[in-house]
């Protein structure tokens, strides 16, 4: 009987690498199930009146949080297309990079041929430390908390910020990464501002419960899968779809590895038994 090759970890990594390369290079459009929460969130954004102000912030985000950005970039494309406006309020040190990355990747600024103009349609605010305290202060009085935008321009000279004073002016709050559990009591519970949370997959399990606490006010998407769902609704497949392609192929590959590993183990046991019988 032909010997089954030993399943070394390097072989597994090699297969995983090849899958990552292939899904990075080619979009396979692997199918996935659509979540009702993602559809509801998309429909809520569609129902907002043009000119409404959305806020992106609060998440303890890192610079290129690709997982949350999949859905966030698609959402920015949607709100720009709908004529909504966006105030970016980073509460994590690397949030500034993340927010700029999302705007650039969505290609909504007029320098990329998009409909948005800085100051009129979107504003980048500087990093504000303090976590919960900062978010509560922002919701209470934006102008008391922040004096300038990210580039040092006094916010009174930024047209969009003249229409943005407190939570009463916010139509929807976008939150990437994690921390929606921490901030949702103040954003939704106390002030009634709806929140769309592009959660990391590992945070989804704990955050999803909050959709039951705030029905029709909070929507949570699940990592890259949720991002792929939102991308599909917006009609712009990107990072989320690539990741779902990777999941699909890797699920099959891992099943193959499990079978191969078990076959190797069983054939080894059988061979050892034969050797023992001969001895």
């Amino acid at each position: 009987m032909a010997k089954i090759p030993e399943l070394k970890s390097q072989y597994i990594w090699l297969v995983v690498l090849l899958v990552y390369i292939s899904t990075g290079a080619f979009t396979l459009n692997a199918p996935f199930q659509m979540s009702q929460a993602t559809v509801d969130a998309y429909n809520y954004v569609e129902s907002l009146k043009p000119g409404s102000i959305c806020v992106l912030g609060g998440g303890n985000v890192f610079a290129f949080d690709l997982e949350s950005s999949a859905g966030q970039i698609a959402a920015i494309k949607q709100i720009a297309r709908k004529g909504l406006r966006l105030v970016e309020f980073p509460t994590g040190v690397e949030g500034i990079m993340f927010h700029r990355y999302c705007i650039d990747a969505a290609r909504v600024d007029e320098k990329y041929g998009g409909p948005w103009k800085y100051g009129r349609d979107y504003v980048l605010l500087p990093y504000v430390p303090g976590g919960t305290i900062a978010v509560v202060a922002f919701l209470t009085d934006v102008h008391a908390l922040i004096s300038t935008d990210l580039f040092g321009t006094p916010i009174k000279q930024v047209p969009l910020m003249n229409e943005m004073h407190s939570y009463k002016d916010i139509a929807l709050w976008f939150m990437p990464h994690w921390a929606a559990e921490t901030y949702s009591p103040y954003i939704i519970g106390e002030r009634g501002v709806p929140l769309l949370f592009f959660a990391q997959a590992s945070n989804y399990v704990t955050a999803a419960v909050y959709m039951n606490i705030y029905p029709d006010k909070m929507w949570v998407t699940n990592g890259f899968l949720g991002g792929a769902q939102y991308e599909k609704l917006v009609g712009s497949p990107g990072l989320g779809q690539s990741a779902v392609d990777g999941y699909t192929i890797l699920s099959g590959a891992f099943l193959g590895f499990v079978l191969l590993g078990n076959m190797t183990l069983l054939s080894d046991v059988r061979r050892k038994e034969k050797v023992e019988v001969k001895q």
Binding site: Y127, G131, T148, Y186, A243
Partner: protein, 210 residues
């Protein structure tokens, strides 16, 4: 077309260095690791400059002179690195922690305790409404919630006639917790797999121009 942007090349090099750990620890991985760590620290320092400018502009232009108080508290917090006068830093830290705890407690009571109880009760009332799939979902959620809570509340061994049935419920509650943890781990694996895909995606599309 391959990118001509040197930053994209540096990013690609560091990404490949990071992935080289899959083969084993090596100097290239260490270069990427230390570059990342030092960049994060440096970025934090640079980011604080516009933040300071934003925070204290009203103080320096005279519109909000009382901002001298947070400035003083901020300077006091720096004393934490000076062992002899570290006690000075305890005042701003105590203030920060006190305000944060007060706000957090308010949120915790409103959402985590009352909100969750209300959500579970509403779901309990919805068991007989809607499609069979929804009904099953509500039943599972309530059974898991109640048994999971019983597992945590009754950690001591019970004696008497209730000991045996409660033991069954506790065991079921333990499995409910294990299911929850398994889903969390599964989602965590999904997260890292997706992050690797997206890193490769960036490498191939941004760097190699596919």
């Amino acid at each position: 077309m391959i990118s001509t942007d040197p930053w994209v090349w540096i990013s690609a090099f560091l990404t490949i260095c990071s992935f080289s750990l899959l083969y084993g620890d090596n100097p290239l991985f260490r270069i990427a690791e230390y570059t990342f760590t030092s960049t994060v620290v440096a970025n934090s320092v640079v980011t604080s400059i516009p933040t300071l400018r934003d925070r204290f502009m009203p103080l320096f232009n005279g519109t909000k002179p009382w901002f001298i108080i947070p400035l003083a508290l901020g300077i006091m917090s720096l004393f934490v690195v000076w062992r002899k006068y570290a006690w000075v830093a305890s005042f701003p830290y105590a203030l920060f922690l006190g305000v944060n705890t007060g706000i957090s407690m308010r949120g915790a009571v409103g959402t985590t305790i009352i909100g969750n109880i209300r959500a579970v009760m509403q779901e309990g009332a919805a068991i007989l409404i809607g499609s069979p799939t929804d009904q099953l979902g509500y039943v599972v959620r309530i059974v898991f919630t109640v048994s999971g809570m019983i597992y945590l509340f009754f950690t001591l061994f019970l004696k008497g006639s209730l000991a045996k049935p409660m033991g069954y419920v506790r065991t079921f509650g333990k499995y409910a917790w294990l299911v929850f943890m398994a889903i969390m781990i599964g989602n965590g694996v999904q997260q890292y797999s997706g992050l690797a895909t997206s890193a490769m995606n960036r490498l191939i599309r941004t760097w190699l121009g596919f």
